[in-house]
Amino acid sequence: MADKLEVQQGTLALMILKTLEVLGPLHGYGVARRIEETSKGRLTLNYGTLYPALVKLEQEGCIKAEWRQSENNRRAKYYTLTAIGRKQLAHETRDWHRTADLIAAFLAPRREGEAP
């Protein structure tokens, strides 16, 4: 079994925003499925992690929610990315790349005196 990872709040928000950008309006279940699939099962989200994150994003104005009929005729609450959310996504994506590059450079197997 692959290692399961605890998902961090900050990265979770980024994942949710990205998911909504790629797939358009989606309910909580859909978001969870997408994140689990994308992580190839290495991440699992229980409700207690996912829903507070959704509430927080909604409070910040990044997403908005409304009840709709789902594709198989079930009522579900759909989350849509807002303009603020898009900006926030772009911003956090850029930050994330920078941080990732930095950490990667830091951890690269490189010795004193070696050429970069």
């Binding site: 229980n46 104005g61 079930r74 579900a76």
Partner: protein
């Protein structure tokens, strides 16, 4: 921005959360359904699918809780729930709540009100620029009315030249003028200060309209100008914004209003307006400017940059010593001439200080008693609530959470008490302002402002904190023992000791307050027994100044004006005599019991001043032949004035007993000759000729019932300028009813002359003691409050002790103790507390009495009657308070008591 928005959303969530719970449940259910459907689609049996979905969810309740925490503000929500809980629990014990709120309201209300006065009158920085560098100089001599004799112009000049530590000396001379009626208000006497041009600069005041006086307003030949005080501008000129540049008519001249000065206290006399010296030709005359003993000027000054108060004092002392050395004539050694340099703020707070700090201490004592009472009540309630708290602790509430619960509850109590107290204080402040106005020119600054309310808030929160931390809570890890301790606990020995200590403190503090109240009340009783020296109180006095002072000071046509004024008085007399019931009407310079502002040196024919003997001084008064009879001043020797003692006849004089004793201790004064003396006579219209003593009259309490006796010399009204301005009317009964008639007579004869102080002798007398009376009433009501609270306290603690010991008492009774014995036991328990409190209180009372010595009259600080009375009263009230619980203990039925275990 994003965060603010999120925070606002959460704040809103606190209040809308309950509605959104259903929504959240639906959402989570939908998620669960979809996940289940997915597992079914993959071929799982529905039950197994549902179970898997549930496991993956991590628990719906936990999720809902997490969302709720995110949605609102958890700490605020729990505070709100604490508040709700506190209100509920207080509603369940209405008696406790009401007693606590009222008790705290009394304490907090009294402290808020008195503190607002103390702050405005004593503590608040002066509104003047650099107000703490402002100084007041005072010249004093021994004897009555010698405390502030003011300065002469040459003296001021010497200080100006010789004291570099004083950066600017300003002169202000209290003066009184008639301001003629105009479109704003009718004619009235006003108080003005005649000031030098630098006055406002030294005082550090700025105009709110127009300009203030400056150096170019000094000296003769400049136009007279007037600066209005803020208060006078508002009341007299209805806050007219266009007042600057207008002319006002005064006595027999006019002046231009040049500005309005910011609100500020004026001292030693309150002022309606400030004017330049040119208004009074007298102030610029050679006599005034050159006469070293012609003291009419007060000095305000300001420390020079870098100078200290000590430097200023030392330099002033040096210059003053040189003055006394150079001009021995002007400073007789027997009178102990001295000059004090005081910070201005201290000088104006001087008269109020002792009284106000005493009231503040009394209010603090009330606070101590009421807090002690509330602490006791809380402790008792805490014991009853222990079970509840233990149950809560057992259900998972931490100690911190319990503490917070108590704190919220106590805050609610304290805030409700404070709110009630502040309402009471609002009512009290207007009364206290009137009271303080008698002592201080800063009374108008008394407000319940933010600083006062901050003081109240600090008091309130401290009480709440104190209450929350005296209650003992189960310690972490000891819940088990608390729970197993079972049903009844009595709060432990320590707590009982604390309760008893508090009761003793309450009684002691009450006794101190009562002792203070008792001494002040005795003072009032002593004062009311003081003989005014007048034989009757059916006397009405009315001040009508027919010869304006400005006329006398100007020196032109004085004789004619004087004759006209005397005719006016004669007509008023005749018409007043015609009023039915009037027995006698007299005219004199002053109201009976009023102290003269003119004090002069006196000499006796053929006798010189002994070495080191103080110069004899006397009040200058005039009286017509009927003045004494009308005022009820008794004749001791010789005769009253007669019609023959008129202008041009031989100079005669009547002296009072104090002066007779001072001048002629061994001899009969009748027929002896005395005279006014001293340099200063040259500057007055008063003659220094020898005058024959024709009569001695009884002393009267001039200047107040508590005043020292003053020597007085009465001149015949007809032989002096009519500086006199008082008509005295005596009736056979109910003289008060004559006021309106008397006023209308004067109004008819002198329509343009203001009429002041239409008062009966009873009113004059009353006015002189009313500040003391209010003081006594305030302290007495604080004392009464304290005693009531303390009585409730002792009764409560004993009652609690009885109910906690029901079981024990039951055992005692079943073992043979009868009810009388039980009753004695409880009474004894209370008696010990009472005795300890009384002993401590009497000691404290002695100390307090020593501090307030200056406020007493006719009663020793350690007055045994007062202390015995106070102790007996407290003991009586205490015993009554003990009796109620003792009776209850005696009625305990042993069978029931033991079964109740």
């Amino acid at each position: 921005m994003r965060h603010v928005r999120a925070w606002l959303a959460r704040l809103a969530g606190v209040f809308t959360g309950h509605r959104r719970d259903a929504d959240l449940r639906d959402e989570l259910e939908a998620h669960l359904d979809m996940e289940t459907a997915e597992y079914v689609r993959r071929g799982m049996p529905p039950n197994e699918a549902r179970r898997r979905a549930m496991v993956a969810s991590g628990g719906l309740t936990i999720a809902a809780e997490a969302v709720r925490a995110q949605r609102g503000l958890p700490w605020l929500e729990s505070a709100v729930s604490d508040l709700r809980y506190a209100l509920k629990s207080l509603r369940h014990s209405p008696a406790f709540t009401a007693v606590v709120i009222i008790t705290l309201a009394l304490g907090i209300g009294a402290n808020t009100a008195i503190f607002s006065v103390v702050r405005a009158v004593l503590l608040k920085p002066l509104p003047n620029r650099d107000g703490d560098r402002l100084l007041y100089l005072r010249q004093s001599i021994d004897g009555p009315a010698g405390e502030d004799i003011a300065f002469s112009v040459p003296e001021v000049r010497d200080f100006r030249a010789g004291v570099p530590a004083l950066g600017g000396i300003a002169e202000v001379s209290p003066w009184s003028l008639t301001l003629e009626g105009d479109q704003y208000s009718p004619t009235a006497r006003i108080k003005v200060g005649l000031v030098t041009g630098n006055f406002f600069d030294v005082m550090g005041l700025h105009p709110i309209l127009g300009r203030l006086t400056r150096a170019s307003d000094d000296g003769p030949g400049v136009p007279p100008v007037m600066v209005l005080t803020e208060q006078f501008w508002r009341s007299r000129f209805r806050s007219d914004p266009n007042i600057v540049g207008k002319q006002v008519r005064l006595d027999d001249g006019s002046a231009t209003v040049i500005g309005v000065v910011q609100a500020a206290p004026f001292f030693p006399e309150p002022a309606d307006a400030l004017m330049n010296m040119v208004v009074s030709p007298h102030h610029l005359s050679a006599t005034m400017v050159l006469g070293r003993t012609h003291r009419m000027t007060e000095i305000v000054s300001r420390l020079a940059p870098g100078a200290t108060l000590e430097q200023a004092r030392a330099e002033v002392a040096t210059v003053y010593a040189r003055m006394q050395h150079d001009y021995t004539q002007s400073y007789d050694p027997g009178s102990h001439f001295r000059v004090t340099v005081l910070p201005f703020k201290d000088a104006i707070g001087e008269r109020a200080r002792l009284t106000l700090w005493l009231l503040m201490a009394a209010a603090a004592f009330v606070m101590i008693i009421s807090t002690a009472n509330v602490v006791n009540l809380t402790l008792m309630r805490g014991v009853r609530r222990e079970q509840e708290l233990v149950v809560r602790a057992a259900l998972g509430a931490g100690v911190l959470r319990l503490r917070r619960l108590l704190l919220v509850e106590n805050l609610v109590l304290a805030v409700l008490g404070a709110a009630t107290g502040v309402l009471m204080a609002i009512g009290g402040v207007s009364l206290l302002t009137l009271f303080a106005a008698r002592f201080s020119p800063r009374a108008s600054e008394i407000h319940l402002d933010t600083v006062v309310l901050a003081f109240t808030l600090v008091l309130t929160v401290s009480v709440a904190l104190l209450l929350s931390f005296v209650a003992s809570l189960p310690k972490e890890g000891t819940f088990a023992s608390w729970i197993s301790a079972g049903t009844r606990r009595t709060g432990g020995l320590n707590k009982q000791r604390l309760q008893r200590g508090l009761v003793v403190a309450q009684i002691a503090v009450s006794v101190v307050l009562l002792a203070g109240a008792g001494l002040l009340t005795r003072t009032m009783m002593q004062l009311s027994e003081v003989d005014t020296g007048l034989k009757t109180e059916q006397v009405l006095a009315m001040q009508v100044q027919l010869l304006p002072i400005a006329k006398i000071a100007s020196g032109t046509d004085v004789r004619a004006a004087d004759a006209a004024a005397k005719q006016g008085y004669e007509r008023i007399k005749q018409q007043a005599l015609a009023i039915p019931g009037v027995v006698a009407v007299g005219v004199g310079s002053l109201m009976p019991l009023e102290a003269s502002e003119i004090q002069l040196d006196v000499k006796v024919e053929g006798r010189s001043l002994g070495v080191g003997e103080a110069m004899p001084r006397a009040d200058y008064r005039t009286a017509d032949p009927d003045y004494f009879r009308a005022s009820g001043i008794p004749l001791v020797r010789g005769r009253y004035f007669e019609q023959t003692d008129r202008a041009g006849a031989g100079w005669v004089v009547i002296i009072n007993q104090t002066l007779a004793h001072r001048l002629f201790p061994e001899e009969d004064p009748i027929g002896k000759r005395i005279a006014w003396t001293g340099d200063v006579l040259r500057f007055t219209p008063i003659s220094g000729d020898w005058r024959t003593v024709v009569g001695v009259v009884g002393n009267t309490q001039d200047g107040g019932l508590d005043a020292q006796p003053r020597g007085a010399m009465f001149m015949p009204f007809a032989q002096e300028l009519a500086m006199g301005n008082t008509v005295v009317i005596r009736a056979d009964s109910n003289v008060t009813a004559l006021a309106a008639q008397a006023t209308s007579i004067a109004r008819r004869i002198a329509p343009a002359t203001p009429i002041d102080h239409v008062m009966t002798v009873a009113q004059i007398k009353d006015q002189s003691v009313s500040p003391r009376r209010l003081n006594a009433v305030l302290i007495t009501s604080f004392g009464a409050m304290a005693v009531i609270i303390a009585a409730v306290g002792i009764a409560g603690v004993l009652a609690f002790s009885v109910s906690a010991r029901t079981n024990e008492i039951g055992i005692r009774m079943s073992l043979g103790a009868d009810s009388a014995r039980v009753q004695r036991m409880i009474l004894g328990e209370g008696g010990v507390l009472l005795a300890a409190g009384l002993a401590l209180g009497v000691c404290g009372g002695f100390i307090a009495a020593g501090v307030m010595r200056g406020l007493l009259f006719g009663v020793a600080p350690h007055d045994p009657a007062t202390f015995v009375g106070v102790a007996a009263l407290m003991a009586f009230i205490g015993i009554v308070a003990c009796w109620v619980p003792a009776l209850r203990a005696a009625r305990i039925d042993p069978a029931i008591a033991m079964r109740a275990t």
